[in-house]
Symmetry: C2
Subunit: 476 residues, 2 copies
């Protein structure tokens, strides 16, 4: 494994150039977080469809369980259990707008990851990158387990476990565990664990920090990258369910999936489940004994168990939902943890928004009124007083502080932006598909995916590595 070790060392040094001055040494973390021998066991696989123009190129990279879709370009990279989707890449000729200035794309947008080091990352894309709209890039970034990078640019960034960089340009910075940022350029900043921060310059700012002592119970990472807490314990319970489906290109079909819905062959559907029309169950989603209503989606790394989705519900990447009844049009943000029990069910009223990184750990039945926004840490109904408000009321606000949450700015713009985004997500995922081409979304487009499985070299100095590979456009 000399080559793999050398690659690890090489990239680690590149990352530390940026991160050591910010107070984090990624060397011990990366040494311990990724046992080298695991790299032999994983299969990299990638999906191809003719709807997603591709141009994969891996150079001297270890890819492990990757899933690339749409144009990509990888350099000397270890990627490990990543996703990286690229199914919302912009095309040559598309016009994009940044702060009111319009510009037209010269080329099809590509993803480009150079000298990089994602570890267990999920990267999605819907780039909000004004610098080079043709390139959704990431340079040398460390993404700890279940962290999300949703937009781009990144560069030398450390994302803690279960952290999210949403719609993100980041440059060099550190995101603490379970922090969520949607705040643009964060160069030279360190975001504390458990901070949820949404900032749109000159328009609004939402801020919440988990109170002292709460977060450690859910997520905690030591200096060696060792991850503990309820989140990882919960997720680890389902680990074995994924094992059998990853070495084959044809996992068993799930019965009763409507023609216009999509269940990834790399998702797990367990027990008694119903999948509605236009629903999307993405790869590495885990659904058990649940009803997924029409137009609902479970994005990558979601875990939904003993729950009911009435329809058009969005579960953003990493959402964990159990014993929950979600009425129609609910948005459940990134890495939220809605943990009801058989006796203590959670009910979320229709048209509500569960903010990203919200924890509802029900110690009694909890009932969220329709049209609410909730955030923070909720264990009892009474907690809603400080962690829930009607969206209509928030829309009238310009300055409010409730418990640890502060909001400043144009409440209406904030609520409208959120609603618009939810609608956009449903549209992109194919929830509104009516048989016409214009309404096709991921649920319909991804149906045609074919899958390819790669296995790293199993011996010698190349052990754990893949050969240089370039997969070009299909002939036009």
């Amino acid at each position: 494994m000399e080559k793999l070790e050398a690659l690890f060392d090489h990239i680690t040094s590149r990352i530390n150039v940026n991160l050591k001055p910010l107070g984090i040494d990624v060397e011990p973390i990366l040494k311990n977080a990724v046992p080298r021998e695991r790299h032999l066991l994983y299969y990299a696989f990638y999906a191809l469809t003719t709807d997603h123009p591709l141009s994969f190129k891996f150079t001297n990279s270890n890819l492990a369980g990757t899933y690339l879709l749409g144009k990509t370009n990888v350099d000397r990279s270890v990627i490990y259990k990543s996703n990286i989707r690229g199914d919302e890449l912009k095309l040559k000729g598309d016009v994009v707008e940044f702060n009111g200035i319009k510009t037209r794309l010269f080329y099809d947008e590509v993803i480009r990851i150079t000298n990089s080091f994602l570890v267990k990352t999920l990267v999605h894309n819907q780039s909000k990158n004004p610098e080079t709209p043709e390139v959704f890039k990431i340079l040398n970034t460390v993404a700890m387990p279940f962290s999300n990078i949703h937009g781009t640019t990144t560069e030398g960034v450390y994302l803690g476990s279960f952290a999210t960089a949403d719609l993100s340009i980041l440059h060099n910075c550190i995101l603490g565990d379970y922090s969520y940022v949607q705040a643009g350029d964060l160069s030279r900043q360190t975001i504390e664990p458990g901070r949820v921060w949404i900032k749109y310059d000159g328009l609004f700012e939402f801020n919440y920090v988990f109170p002292n002592g709460v977060l450690e119970y859910y997520v905690s990472t030591d200096k060696n990258g060792q991850l503990t807490g309820k989140f990882i314990e919960y997720v680890d319970e389902f680990k074995d369910d994924f094992v059998p489906i990853y070495s084959t290109v044809l996992p068993e079909d799930v019965d009763g999936v409507p023609d216009d819905a999509y269940v990834s062959p790399y998702a797990v559907i367990k027990g008694k489940c119903t999948i509605g029309k236009n629903a999307l169950i993405a790869q590495r989603a885990h659904i058990e004994d649940s009803y997924i209503g029409d137009g609902s989606n479970a994005q990558e790394n979601c875990y939904i168990k003993n729950s009911v989705y009435r329809g058009n519900n969005v579960t953003a990447h990493g959402g964990k939902v159990v014993h929950t009844i979600a009425e129609k049009n609910i948005f459940i943000g990134f890495n939220s943890f809605l943990h009801g029990t058989e006796k203590h069910k959670i009910t979320v009223g229709r048209d509500s928004i569960v903010m990203p990184h919200t924890i509802v750990n029900a110690k009694e039945p909890i009932d969220i009124p329709a049209g609410s926004v909730i955030w923070g840490h909720i264990t009892k109904q009474k907690d809603l007083e400080e962690h829930c408000m009607p969206l209509d009321e928030l829309a009238k606000t310009t300055d409010i502080k409730i418990g640890n949450m502060t909001f400043k700015g144009n409440g209406k713009a904030f609520v409208d932006a959120f609603r618009h985004r939810i609608d956009h997500i449903l549209e992109e995922n194919g929830a509104y598909y009516n048989g016409t081409d214009a309404t096709r979304g991921h649920a319909q487009k991804t149906q045609a995916a074919c899958f390819n499985i790669l296995q790293p070299f199993q011996s010698g100095p190349e052990m754990g590595m893949y050969p240089t590979m370039s997969i070009g456009e299909y002939a036009k």
Copy 2:
């Protein structure tokens, strides 16, 4: 499937340029022999090891169940269920000798298949090509089921079902069903079905033709490429055993395989089998209730059932062996059919040679004496009178005719060449491995192979096609 159809038509026309003047129209054959929808169901897979320098490049090609190993290069090609091994490619700097003239290779030898059309071919390689020793090439060639191309050059060749072009340069010609040639440049020739022809200019010539009416029972192809007869019936019995292993990169391990032996994960081992030390069971070999002694091999497309191999036995590509006891150092030639039964066993004495394309279909127990060479069609012990002679006696011959067999030339050279080749095959396959690097052969080298599975596009005009793909050298 428009793209696939267009590719089929395009290549068919290329091949017919050469073959129609020779009296064969491949269009109806290729239309019927390969049902288009099958191309969606197959997975192409390829093996990688660091022992076999690679540089795969597929361009607008449908590859179906391919297995490439070692440097390759494919152009606008349909390959279908091929193998193509390239594990005996020569390297830059190697010195090769043709007719006493030595030349040094400028580059690593590559396989190159351009505008080609192999259909169910197995191509091996150990190139005897004096034209361009750096390129093991095939241009546009049709290979019907279970035909073998062993050396090269080929070009516009039609190989009938179960035909073999051994150590071969061919150019434009037709090989009838179950014909075997080892005769160099065959441009503008048509070889009749069931002819076994070994010719070495100025040294010797072996000739045998199956008698009228015998061959049709075993193999027959109509004008539409429809294949009938006992061979295909026999082989089809085992078809289903291969299905489950082809969609996964990690078929189940076979127990009790010695460390220095190799059983391909894409071979089938069924019932109670023993695999000896330094043995090699190649991919698409099928072994059932048999004992495979030390140093023995079962090459691609072999079927061995209810049989015993005492050790150092070679089964060349496509050999079918059932209820047979093979003593030590037996060579069973390409596509031979040794069909004993529970009551009518076949015994082959040690150091014997079963000529390529020999049929022993036992209607009573048959006992081949040690040190024999056998050929042709044998059903009873008495048939040996016209289809068997001691090798030592053949070595003394210069001109002999027995039944349909004629031999002219230097008998000693013929026997020596055969013995030398058997020894070389054993050496190449690792039968003589003693723990040193110099004695490693395929059985040891292929152990480190990792496997990659590709699935063609499943919908749209690209249906059945693969994207352009280039898999380069691993970093050095």
